[in-house]
Symmetry: C2
Subunit: 194 residues, 2 copies
């Protein structure tokens, strides 16, 4: 379900309380996913604050519950309530840092390295289980990683030489050390998916 479309004025701050949302952007017929929003989290906070048009579009990925707060109210309460202001600015700074990491990931690493690092992170998130399952549709995953679905498919197979066994959406990390040798994860780039 389409929630917002890039270019529209930002009338409401959105808060996701249940479900999942894909943030994406388009240009000249191309489309790229920029982030996945999971509860509880706001989105398009920056547009709300600056009273500027949305830069991204948003669709729900599943049945979701979303709270809409009029942007004017957000800006008004920001001036009245110091704790609210602090919460807003902390959230925004966190989003900013996540984006810087994404930018570094994209500009400094190859597609294979990005994928390898994602798998390592997924494993951490899964509590270290050897077998994990990809959290979303591969097409979307590819877009988030900045590659095509075909390239993801091939790259996933190529990681077999680096301690990864793939079967559909199920992935087994058979040799974490080998994968880390390829991925070279860094806390200054790799982010919790949140």
């Amino acid at each position: 379900m389409e929630l917002i479309t890039e270019g529209e004025p930002s009338d409401f701050l959105h808060v996701l309380t249940a479900g999942a949302v894909d943030l994406f952007a388009t240009w000249e017929g191309r489309r790229s996913s920029l982030a996945t929003v999971l509860p509880v989290s706001t989105f398009i906070l920056a547009a709300t604050i600056r009273d500027a048009p949305y830069l991204m579009s948003a669709v729900t990925l599943e049945k979701s519950r979303i709270v809409l707060i009029p942007s004017q109210d957000v800006r008004r309460v920001f001036g009245e309530d110091g704790d609210f202001a602090r919460a807003i600015v902390a959230e925004l700074a966190g989003c900013y840092r996540a984006l810087v990491k994404a930018q570094k990931n994209l500009k400094l690493r190859s597609a294979q390295e990005r994928l390898a690092n994602l798998l390592l992170r997924l494993q951490v998130e899964a509590g270290g289980a050897a077998e994990i399952s990809l959290p979303f549709e591969k097409r979307r995953l590819a877009s988030l990683l900045g590659m095509t679905a075909e390239n993801l498919s091939r790259t996933l197979r190529a990681l077999r030489r680096h301690g990864v066994a793939v079967d559909g959406a199920r992935v087994r990390i058979t040799d974490r050390a080998a994968l880390e040798r390829l991925a070279r994860p860094s806390p200054l780039i790799d982010d919790p998916l949140t």
Copy 2:
């Protein structure tokens, strides 16, 4: 001159009042410029707010004047002064939006398209003059655009077929319509350089 290095704790908010600063990141021997800071502007604001390590390094590009404000003070005054808080959050939201645009630029466009759009923007910034000069070293420009210096050099020549004449750092846009046909600029992606 090296101002900050990624990974270090963020003790000071930096404010550039004169000169120019390059923000870049490194990983495994690779290096990529993420932004150029021009006066008057803050940098590493998000790290200051979250009291988290720097994600980027910063070097001066020329003789510069930089004001350092202890991060604790920034966080304290944020709670005491509503106008200050509003200014901070507006600045941060602006940086965030600039970064989203950069991300879209990188993920949705080819190197040639990114370069073409940059030239168009430079011309606007130069008040529409037919002849403009590239604002920084080509090597850094290439890095900002997410490509190698060699690729920039070749792509610049390739733009001759699209209304661009190049002579070293001087660029003449001879056919803006043709260049726009290739570049397809969009206010939802292309940003003032600030």
